[in-house]
């Protein structure tokens, strides 16, 4: 795929954000789309966002569960960027109308105390770079119609990112076993899904190391103070306007996202 086509695809995705009208799956229209093209399309959108004054505040890792990877027919995760305007405070409703087809995922968010530059980052270095973890809810969304995505579609679409809600109780890595930390996800008061941190690539720390090493190969460093969402502990759940979602984590605390009623 030539760069002009990559720019064209990036523009169509940016247009989908503006119009809230999804586009057709990329792999149907662009038969030659490959992994490098998909990340380049994502990068073109990142450049556009930076040009609008947005700031990158971290990264997210997706496709981290065995079930999701089997469903997608892949054996690796993917990543996208977290912009400053994707972070929503816990005390205000999330405007539901800005998303196309939002879903929610409970995650254990890392906040970094120092830069992490791959490749060659071990789990030990990844753990040493974590300042603390926070309970988090990630809103994922797809600019591709009906979530009909392959790994290439979702990478081009910034790893199907939407928004982030962080809880406000920091926990040190030394105080919790992330692999065996339980998580209960409640939607409008009903238990909807449960899981353990190890559902994320075996350990969320492995996801952090994978991210550092993968972006490192493209010359990108994970920055001190940045947030890394390592992947969902349960399958993603569809969100409707007016919903309230709470994720409880053993030893890490809880976080709640309230969604506003849809606005015209």
């Amino acid at each position: 795929m030539d760069d002009a086509t990559r720019v064209e695809v990036a523009a169509s995705l940016l247009e989908a954000y503006r119009t809230r009208q999804p586009i057709e799956p990329l792999v149907e229209k662009y038969a030659g789309l490959e992994l490098d093209d998909a990340y380049a399309i994502q990068q073109h959108q990142v450049q556009a966002w930076l040009g609008e004054g947005r700031v990158i505040q971290g990264h997210k890792v997706g496709l981290t569960s065995g079930a999701m990877q089997r469903q997608m027919g892949v054996d690796q995760p993917d990543y996208g960027v977290l912009r400053d305007d994707m972070f929503y405070p816990e005390d205000a409703p999330v405007p539901a109308g800005i998303f196309l087809a939002p879903r929610i995922e409970p995650e254990i968010a890392f906040v970094l105390s120092r830069d992490l530059t791959g490749p060659g980052v071990t789990v030990a270095e990844a753990a040493a770079a974590v300042d603390f973890v926070l309970p988090a809810l990630e809103i994922i969304d797809s600019r591709i119609r009906d979530w009909k995505i392959t790994i290439l579609d979702t990478i081009a679409d910034n790893a199907s990112s939407g928004g982030v809600m962080l809880g406000s109780t920091p926990t040190r890595l030394s105080d919790v076993d992330l692999r065996l930390a339980g998580c209960n996800l409640y939607g409008n008061g009903a238990l909807v899904a449960t899981g353990a941190g190890g559902a994320v690539l075996g350990s969320p720390l492995l996801s952090l190391a994978w991210l550092a090493n993968t972006v490192g190969r493209h010359g990108v460093t994970l920055r001190a103070g940045h947030v890394v969402l390592p992947g969902s502990v349960t399958p993603a759940q569809p969100v409707r306007p007016g919903d309230t979602w709470t994720a409880q984590f053993a030893g890490i605390g809880s976080v709640t996202a309230r969604f506003g009623q849809e606005t015209a």
Binding site: R179, N184, G195, G198, G202, Q248, A250
Partner: protein
């Protein structure tokens, strides 16, 4: 009129179990078999197990997840019997010919310190009767081909009981948050699923209370010293011969079970 009755059904199910041969559901030939009859068959198979020297060691709950209850069209779990013949020793491989088509479920297990008699047992009062909590792996098995059954079929079949392993630590229940007690399930070293105790009827203590109240309806109680398997935290995972199932709990340690 069907020529089936409680005796014949108990004989058929125990014969299938003893010969490791699956069969069609009883309701295929005996559609009138209702839940009360099914529990009577379950009790008759228990009576025969005890008569051949097995010891009653406790009860198990089945269908404790809301998803499974919705699939079966029921609103509460079912209760079945555990005998010492179903107990697996720790650290030994499971004999390949022990079961027909076993599937593994991670469970939170209670060891009762006091008798618990319904009706009117609540989750809070149920926990007062619990002396210890440990993790478990239950190998469920069905005498029915492809696990195809109706609710009365599975009740008659002792809730697909097979064999179970408990351990390695037994903790006092005080201070344990069983709602967030998590497990990671591995098959041959690959994580295949995870869940928490909340997946069991909202909380394993809710399952225990339901079991006590359900048994009261049959004139029975959960006795001191019994084991209670509270129900699968995740969907059952296939456990073919030669596979190794690992379950890692937040506070209740790790269990490994390997096929011979």
């Amino acid at each position: 009129m069907s020529d089936w009755d409680i005796d014949r059904a108990a004989t058929a199910l125990l014969a299938a179990e003893d010969s490791r041969t699956d069969r069609e559901p009883l309701t295929d030939e005996w559609p009138e078999m209702d839940l009360d009859t099914a529990y009577a068959i379950q009790d008759e198979t228990l009576r025969r197990r005890l008569a051949r020297g097995e010891q009653l060691v406790g009860v198990k709950l089945g269908l404790t997840s809301r998803a499974k209850q919705q699939r079966m069209g029921i609103s509460s779990p079912l209760v079945a019997w555990l005998t010492d013949a179903m107990v697996l020793p720790a650290g030994a491989p499971v004999p390949q010919d022990l079961l027909i088509h076993p599937r593994a479920e991670p469970e939170i297990v209670f060891v009762m310190g006091e008798r618990l008699a319904g009706p009117g047992v609540t989750a809070a009062t149920a926990m007062r009767a619990v002396a210890g909590v440990c993790g478990g792996i239950e190998l469920i098995d069905s005498r029915y081909r492809d696990f195809r059954f109706t609710m009365p079929d599975v009740v008659a079949d002792n809730a697909s009981s097979g064999a179970f392993l408990t351990g390695p630590v037994t903790l006092r229940p005080e201070g344990l948050d069983l709602s967030l007690e998590a497990c990671l399930v591995e098959v041959d070293g690959r994580i295949v699923d995870s869940a928490t105790g909340a997946a069991v009827q909202g909380h394993p203590a809710e399952a225990l209370a339901l079991a006590a109240n359900a048994l009261a309806g049959r004139g029975l109680a959960i006795e001191a010293g019994w084991i209670v398997l509270t129900g699968g935290m995740t969907d059952a995972v296939f456990a073919p011969a030669g596979s190794t199932i690992g379950v890692h709990f937040t506070s209740l340690g790790s269990l490994v079970l390997s096929g011979g």
